[in-house]
């Protein structure tokens, strides 16, 4: 039974389709915000299939094993993180106390693979992109972690499922975490390398950053990994900051869950259509000075509230 769940629902197959759907929603909304028509619904799937059919070129200077391994690793770690994130019910497929940390680490691995992939591509653009990914990681990761941990502090548990259940039972407390939700959302843009934080793959500066040398199947898996990461991260934010609508009826729950994910994707599309790309130094300043302050404030606030919440 667990094997079927891993493979189908809420596992690999569902997540992959969901990733394609999220990419479509993102691209379509982005296009509509820009007064464009946007792609048809099957475009992400068509892109994936097309990339799979292309020749896999590896530059002579690149490190072959790492170059080929990184897309798979990125995809695998993003998928693995999903099993600890509650979707339909407030309980995830697997959970233990402390799995919040594990999920966050699994979600960091794709960024590390971007770095290694760029570094071992051995081209100037890739290397600059790789370094930028790494610097950006240190900038957004701190506020993101702090905000998620602040929510966990109030819930007094380190498991995603536990946090979701706690807030599902205390709905008014969801409002306390709204600043944290806003900051996590912006940090998520950094994690997904989207405008205004698409610095590591800034097309007009460094072509495609880490992915400059990638093409064919490897690129397809990288793209899939980013899509999956978007869904997993959106689900994580939904579970922690929007933990409501867990119904007994699985279809109703599924509708609410998908709506929550698409809502977060909508916010992402909105953010990237109203902003220009920041420079790396500006990004670090924004993340540390503004987001960092807000997330520390969130922790203080949650600690204060914690004293008053009846257990």
């Amino acid at each position: 039974m667990a094997f079927v769940q891993l493979l189908l629902f809420p596992g690999l197959a569902f997540l992959f389709v969901m990733g394609l759907a999220a990419e479509f929603v993102d691209r379509k909304l982005y296009a509509r915000f820009q007064n464009r028509v946007g792609p048809p619904w099957f475009q992400p799937a068509a892109d994936f299939v097309k990339l799979l059919s292309k020749e896999n070129l590896i530059p002579d200077a690149a490190d072959r094993p790492i170059f080929g391994l990184m897309p798979i690793l990125a995809f695998a770690s993003a998928v693995t993180a999903y099993f600890y994130v509650p979707t339909l019910r407030s309980n995830a497929l697997f959970s233990f106390d402390g799995d919040l940390i594990v999920v966050l680490y699994f979600l960091t691995i794709p960024t590390l693979t971007f770095f290694l992939a760029g570094w071992y591509s051995r081209s100037a653009f890739s290397m600059i992109g790789a370094i930028r990914s790494m610097i950006q990681l240190f900038a957004y990761e701190v506020p993101l972690f702090l905000c998620l941990l602040a929510a966990a502090l109030l819930a007094d548990t380190w498991s995603v499922s536990g946090v979701a259940s706690f807030y599902a039972n205390h709905p008014p407390l969801i409002l306390i975490n709204l600043p944290g939700f806003a900051v996590s959302l912006m940090a998520l843009l950094g994690k997904l390398e989207k405008v205004p934080f698409d610095i590591p793959e800034a097309e007009t500066e460094i072509v495609a950053g880490s992915f400059t040398e990638y093409g064919g199947k490897s690129l397809a898996f990288f793209k899939a990994a980013i899509n999956v990461e978007m869904v997993v991260a959106a689900s994580l934010l939904a579970a922690i900051f929007l933990p409501f609508g867990f119904f007994a009826n699985p279809i109703l729950s599924a509708v609410v869950y998908i709506a929550k994910v698409f809502f977060i994707v909508f916010l992402i599309a909105l953010a990237r259509s109203v902003a220009a790309r920041l420079r790396l130094d500006q990004m670090v300043v924004v993340c540390w000075k503004i987001f960092g302050t807000v997330s520390f404030g969130q922790i203080v606030l949650n600690l204060l509230v914690k004293g008053w919440v009846p257990r």
Partner: protein, 415 residues
């Protein structure tokens, strides 16, 4: 990578940020640019030479194709010089129509620039919006002249198409729509914090530097250099219209943005005045096929800055010499200064901020006193292969593999 932690990045000749092939060799330490070399010369088309071999009428079409965006500027500038040599009294109505097309072209060019600037700083929404609105002016130009670019409206002694009352009406309406939209862009430029953050204090060029490098157009005016050929050396209908020369004190890319959106608003004013005071009369005078001997320099304020043409005629139907000084040639010198101590991330927008047109700028430079001669194709090819091999690029293995593959597949097809 050198051992001092410097990385050399070659931007171009082919790069997503560049619309035309040119090459920048940038040394970066981290994200900071420590040195930059601009290399042009990928686009030389030999237009100046080609113009000497064609008649004046044929040259009109060639000169329009110097630039795809300020095509009317080059043809106006050229035709103005020729008319001065031939001492033609061009009818007023023709001058007004030329001015109208020139201002519409400025609108189209500045809106295009605003979109490109948005794209360079990752603000694609701005690109999509401005290019959507640019369609309005493109359609107007198409309905007035028959073409979206390369309007072909100028001829020696006048213009080739007249305005009808309906077209005047439609143009005024388009100007109203565009003015409304431009006000929105001015609001965006003045309020959007990411835009201001990305453009302020980037690509700095002080007033003195701007004068020293001889910059022209919006690039100079954004560095507080108060110059505009339309006002300083008025031509066509400009003596009879009133407008402000937009000058800005920011001395950076943000200033260049404000100058351009400000100029858009002035252009709408000029268009309204032109259409209101459009004189009646013929649109062309008969021009001689042979232009009398003489020479003239003509200045024209193109969207990117002052355009200058020198024409020398020898009494035949072909010019003896045509020299084009496109605005980019004046501005490109300042780019290295603007890039100095900047960030790699700002390179695209700094280069884009002069609104470069590299194919207008490329010139052939012949070095005297060095070895020169002709080479046949095989020698050039061998030299190229040798040159790349010395740099460590050897394609002989790839070529052999490719040939083997071709042979295999042809065998398979035959067998």
């Amino acid at each position: 990578m050198t051992d001092r932690g410097e990385v050399k990045v070659r931007i171009g000749p082919q790069h997503p940020a560049l619309k035309e092939p040119e090459s920048f060799l940038i040394s970066v330490r981290g994200e900071k640019i420590t040195a930059s070399t601009v290399k042009l010369g990928y686009n030389h088309r030999g237009i100046e030479k080609a113009m000497e071999e064609r008649t004046y009428i044929q040259d009109l079409y060639l000169v329009e194709r110097i630039c795809g965006i300020c095509s009317h500027s080059h043809s106006s500038c050229f035709v103005q010089a020729v008319e001065e040599i031939a001492q033609l009294a061009v009818p007023k109505r023709a001058l007004y129509i030329r001015t109208l097309i020139g201002e519409l072209e400025r609108i189209h060019s500045h809106l295009l620039w605003l979109g490109v600037a948005g794209h360079e700083i990752g603000f694609d929404t701005l690109l999509m919006y401005t290019w959507r609105d640019r369609e309005v002016v493109m359609d107007t130009l198409a309905s007035l002249t028959g073409n979206r670019v390369n309007y072909g409206i100028n001829t020696i002694g006048g213009v080739r198409r007249d305005l009808t009352p309906e077209k005047i009406e439609a143009t005024l309406k388009a100007a109203d729509i565009l003015e409304e939209r431009t006000k929105y862009y001015i609001d965006v430029a003045k309020e959007d914090s990411t835009l201001i953050g990305r453009l302020s204090n980037v690509g700095r060029l002080t007033h003195d530097q701007a004068v020293k490098f001889g910059t022209v157009g919006p690039t100079a005016r954004a560095s507080n250099v108060n110059e505009d050929v339309r006002r300083d050396d008025p031509y066509f209908a400009y003596p009879e219209v009133t407008f402000d020369v937009i000058v800005d004190k920011h001395e950076d890319v943000y200033g260049r943005t404000l100058v351009r959106v400000g100029e858009l608003m002035q252009s709408y004013q000029i268009i309204r005045q032109i259409l209101k005071n459009l004189p009646e009369g013929p649109i062309t005078v008969k021009a001689p096929r042979r232009i009398p001997a003489g020479e003239a320099v003509s200045r024209y304020e193109a969207p990117r800055g002052e355009d200058m043409h020198f024409v020398k005629s020898d009494g035949t139907d072909k010019p003896e010499r045509v020299k084009v000084r496109a605005p980019t040639l004046a501005n490109v010198q300042a780019v290295s200064q603007m890039l100095q101590d900047g960030y790699l991330a700002d390179l695209p927008i700094v280069v884009a901020a002069i609104d470069p047109c590299f194919s207008c700028t490329d010139r052939l430079i012949a070095l005297r006193g060095t070895e020169s001669g002709t080479m046949d194709w095989d020698t050039v090819r061998r030299r190229g292969i040798e040159w790349h091999r010395k740099k460590g690029l050897d394609f002989s293995l790839v070529n052999r593999r490719f040939e083997e593959r071709v042979e295999r597949s042809s065998k398979a097809r035959l067998g």
